[in-house]
């Protein structure tokens, strides 16, 4: 489902750019060698231009955000339909977009717009376990890594890019390469990310 949506997004992004032959495949691994999924691989270039804003949807199903990780261009309006039969109170204290959808059911009246780039962490005030991440990017070249940690960026114009990777377990976006020259040929990179430990559930206190 998510995967399908990304393909659509990728098609959408490439469609807005002049056709070029360059592409980049990044395979992400963490310090333990494990594949890093759901990381946003982002290429920035002065010549890149702005991505085309669209709309997106994050459902709440079975007290979970679906999808849990979303990659959207700036200005995207995301609707949060509550498909559970209980109410949710979706909020974000993230600086990129602070908002609150107070207790509601069904589809909220208006979608939420995300005009600023950055990571937005969504939570539910009622259900602590519900967390969703939204990467809001202001570049047309961005992709989410798949389960194998692979993210493929295609149709890249030959230019000097800054390669960034975002991940909820990174305190700040990791700049993999600040000056990455990409030509017509395909490139493959396998950077290793140093991820913060997964936040575990609070231990039962004595």
């Amino acid at each position: 489902m998510t995967r399908g949506w990304l393909v659509v997004l990728g098609v959408a992004l490439t469609a807005t750019l002049p056709a070029r032959a360059g592409n980049l495949q990044v395979t992400l691994r963490d310090q333990t060698g494990a594949a890093v999924a759901d990381a946003a691989v982002i290429l920035r270039a002065d010549t890149a231009g702005m991505p085309v804003a669209g709309s997106a949807q994050i459902d709440q199903i079975d007290k979970r955000f679906v999808p849990a990780v979303s990659l959207v261009p700036t200005g995207t309006a995301i609707s949060f339909p509550n498909k559970d039969n209980i109410r949710h109170h979706v909020y974000s204290f993230s600086p990129a977009r602070t908002f609150e959808l107070k207790l509601y059911s069904g589809v909220p009246s208006a979608p939420v717009e995300f005009p600023e780039p950055g990571l937005v962490v969504l939570g539910c005030n009622i259900h602590d376990g519900m967390i969703a991440y939204i990467y809001v990017v202001d570049t047309p070249y961005a992709a989410l890594s798949d389960r194998e940690g692979r993210a493929t960026l295609e149709g890249l114009a030959a230019a000097r890019y800054q390669l960034e990777v975002w991940h909820p377990r990174l305190r700040e976006p990791a700049i993999i390469d600040a000056a990455l020259d990409l030509g017509d040929a395909a490139r493959a990179l396998e950077p290793v990310l140093t991820l913060e430990p997964l936040p575990t559930a609070p231990p039962p206190l004595e």
Partner: protein, 788 residues
């Protein structure tokens, strides 16, 4: 004293054993109680520690709950997320007040304090306990202890999630003295919290503890394994350290329980046991003392009885009336006492009694005399000894028989015993026919009175089996200390006095120093022997006048001793001595030899004198004597009829049977026999009649005085008549006057001898006298008389 030591030994041993047992028992009980109490206390302390831990956990839970409530608050989270610091602090204070938390903080994801209710932790400073924070970050929350200066906090860190962790709420209770007191009450222990300072010293939180108390408190912490929460005994307390922090050993709670509390319930039991032990000891002491006394008292009594027995007193019996071994011992001692008494009395009897007369014997007499002398010499007293001898007792036994003699002695003893009634005086049989009387405190005069009484009592004849026996006794009398300083001397002198009394024919004689010349006598014997061997002796001859013819028809040989130094020794100086010592036999043989040779010589020269020789009592006992004389007669070819042997009456009486044998033998040889000193002995005429005697010789004691004493004259005259009536010739000796000679002639006496006629002369002078007219002066008168 042995008894006391035995008794005390009893008590000491019993008491010691009981003391050991009770002490051991009390010690074991005490050890068990203490051990048990300590175990119990340790268990209690462990329980208390668990309770303490539980309370701490509850406290942590309260903190955690409060922290999570706070951190979950949306508004709070909003405030934190939006960095609204004032709101955050107020929210912290608000929630802290709900549970009386003492310190609240917000810490960001990097461990820096972003908000705090205390100025001690300003914004931007690192969280005071990084280890705790790290634990919280890695575990999504943490609880623990932290130290701020000298304050101890119990702290909980809870994440602030929006929805990811954007920071931490820290909520703390300060652990102070008040809390320690509360915990003390809840855990029923003395509980304190201790901190380790930077310098490594421990100190008690919020309490001004003394150095000693702290030292005690910290003992468990200084052990090798403080974390094991092992109880430590310190003094009378049990302490246990409970470490508070998982991150470091910097804080702990020390729980203390006094041992006394665990021991308290046992105190009455121990008191009871102690009293019981004291009671047991007292009872044992008393019991063993009683038991010991029950043994030692009769033992002492028996020992006393044995001592009394040892001293010779058999009158006291042991009076231990018991059926046990001690009683048996007492009975044995009593049996022993009776046995000893009986045997001693028998022994005493054998040793000190004369079996015949039942009188004390010589040994006892000597002993008593010794005692009496000792006592007397101590107080200047006197003791007299009478020695009573039966005269001629041997004759009595010979004539009457030995058995009768013994009965006679018994009767004599009985009679004497009745006369010596005083207990202090002792009558004893000291010899065959000798009795002695010890008169304590008596002098010679008093003893003389007693002697007289005894003699009077013995005047009455004894009647034995229809026989009447008249016993003659003599008594010698001595007095201590005049007559001797010791018993032996006194008895010796008493013997002398007795013999003097016998010789003198007095009833008793008191000793006089002149009686005793024994030293002189001893040398005399040797000298006498030399005299016989060395021809110092010579014979003098005293003529005897035949009153019918007026011729000196006989001579009596008289021995004379011409001592080379002393000169002439009179016969009465050595003849009695020679008789006593038995040397008289040798002397008699010498005299016989010399006299018979002289007689034979005279015969050859035509001098027809008959020779008279004296025989002593001992010569009559000599069965050889007749053979010796016969050999001599044969050698000299001498007519036995010329030899007259003069025998004293007393000599015959000493042993009449043997004397008669010798006399008969001599008579058989044709020798003539003459009874010397007739009238002084106690010979009975009936006995004399049986002897083959030819002549009677009237003792000169009568003859010397007959011209003045009418009695003596009567005796002489009747003796002459008696002799003639018996067919004997009669000789009178001691004729020292013409008147006596005339009287004798007138009374028909046959032969006269005396100084008036001629004194004893040596042979040559006698021959001269015989040749002189002096020897013829009686012939004429005899002729005249015959004519008349």
């Amino acid at each position: 004293m042995a008894t006391r030591s035995l008794r005390s030994r009893f008590v000491v041993v019993f008491l010691g054993l009981v003391l050991i047992v009770t002490t051991l028992g009390l010690s074991v009980v005490d050890y068990a109680i203490r051990h048990n109490a300590r175990e119990q206390l340790a268990a209690e302390l462990a329980t208390s520690e668990r309770v303490f831990r539980r309370i701490l956990a509850d406290s942590t839970a309260r903190l955690a709950q409060a922290a999570s409530v706070l951190s979950a608050d949306f508004a709070f989270r909003t405030a934190v997320a939006t960095g609204d610091r004032d709101t955050v602090i107020s929210a912290l204070a608000n929630h802290g007040d709900r549970i009386d938390a003492d310190l609240m903080m917000i810490i960001d994801r990097d461990g820096l304090v972003t908000a705090s209710t205390s100025s001690d932790t300003p914004t931007g400073s690192p969280f005071p306990k990084p280890a705790l924070f790290e634990r919280a970050r890695d575990g999504g929350g943490a609880a623990g202890f932290m130290i701020r200066g000298d304050r101890l906090y119990q702290t909980v860190l809870a994440p602030v999630q929006a929805p990811t962790t954007i920071g931490w709420v820290a909520m703390s209770f300060e652990i102070d003295a008040r809390m320690a007191r509360e915990l003390s009450e809840l855990t029923s222990t003395e509980l304190v919290f201790v901190l380790e300072s930077a310098a490594g010293d421990w100190h008690v939180v919020g309490a001004g503890d003394t150095e000693g108390a702290r030292t005690a408190l910290l003992t468990p912490l200084r052990s090798d394994r403080p974390r094991d929460a092992v109880p430590h005994a310190v003094g009378d307390d049990l302490l246990l350290a409970s470490m508070l922090d998982a991150d470091s050993d910097s804080a702990a709670a020390v729980l203390r329980l006094p041992l006394a509390t665990a021991l308290a319930p046992f105190a009455p039991l121990q008191r009871f046991l102690f009293v019981l032990a004291i009671g047991a000891l007292t009872a044992t002491a008393a019991g063993s003392a009683l038991l010991a006394r029950g043994i030692t008292r009769p033992l002492s009594q028996l020992a006393e009885v044995a001592r009394v027995i040892a001293n010779g007193d058999y009158s006291r019996a042991a009076t231990v009336e018991r059926d046990d071994e001690v009683g048996a011992l007492a009975r044995a001692v009593n049996a022993m006492r009776e046995g000893i008494a009986m045997r001693e009395s028998t022994i005493m009897d054998l040793a000190y009694r004369d079996p015949l007369t039942r009188l004390p014997n010589r040994a006892l007499f000597l002993e008593r005399a010794e005692q009496a002398l000792t006592v007397a010499s101590g107080r200047d007293g006197r003791v007299a000894v009478l020695l009573l001898g039966v005269d001629n007792f041997r004759y009595v036994t010979h004539t009457l028989g030995h058995q009768l003699g013994e009965r006679l002695l018994g009767a004599l003893a009985l009679r004497l015993d009745g006369l010596v009634p005083r207990r202090v005086d002792t009558l004893a049989r000291v010899g065959g026919e000798q009795f002695a009387v010890l008169l304590d405190g008596a002098d010679t005069a008093a003893a003389s009175v007693m002697a007289t009484r005894l003699l009077q009592a013995l005047e009455e004849p004894f009647r034995i089996d229809e026989q009447i026996v008249d016993l003659g006794v003599s008594i010698g009398l001595v007095e201590f200390p005049a007559h001797g300083e010791d018993v032996a001397t006194l008895l010796q002198h008493a013997e002398l006095a007795l013999s003097v009394a016998r010789r003198a024919r007095t009833d008793y004689a008191v000793y006089e120093p002149g009686f005793d010349q024994s030293p002189e006598r001893l040398s005399l014997l040797g000298e006498l022997r030399r005299a016989v061997e060395g021809d110092q002796l010579v014979l003098f001859y005293q003529p005897k006048l035949d009153l019918r013819s007026g011729e000196p028809a006989y001579v009596e040989a008289l021995v004379r001793w011409q001592h080379p130094v002393r000169g002439f020794v009179p016969p009465d100086k050595f003849i009695p001595f020679a008789e006593q010592t038995g040397y008289i036999r040798v002397l008699t043989l010498w005299v016989l030899n010399a006299a018979l040779r002289q007689c034979a010589a005279w015969q050859r020269r035509g001098i027809g004198l008959r020779m008279c020789v004296n025989l002593s009592a001992r010569d009559l006992m000599n069965a050889d004597l007749p053979h010796v004389i016969r050999r001599l007669l044969d050698e000299l070819a001498l007519d036995p009829g010329l030899i007259w042997l003069e025998i004293t009456e007393s000599a015959i009486m000493e042993d009449p049977v043997r004397a008669q044998q010798v006399i008969n033998a001599l008579d058989g040889m044709g020798l003539r026999l003459s009874i010397d000193d007739f009238g002084t002995g106690y010979s009975s005429l009936a006995y004399l009649k049986r002897l083959p005697v030819d002549e009677l010789k009237i003792d000169k004691a009568f003859v010397l005085t007959m011209d003045r004493d009418q009695d003596d004259a009567t005796i002489v005259r009747s003796t002459i008549e008696l002799g003639h009536n018996l067919g004997l010739t009669v000789v009178a000796e001691g004729v020292d006057s013409e008147r006596a000679l005339a009287l004798l002639r007138e009374w028909g006496c046959d032969v006269a001898q005396g100084f008036h006629i001629c004194r004893p002369l040596p042979p040559e002078q006698l021959e001269a006298w015989l040749a002189s007219p002096d020897s013829r002066r009686f012939e004429q008168r005899a002729a005249q008389r015959r004519l008349a």
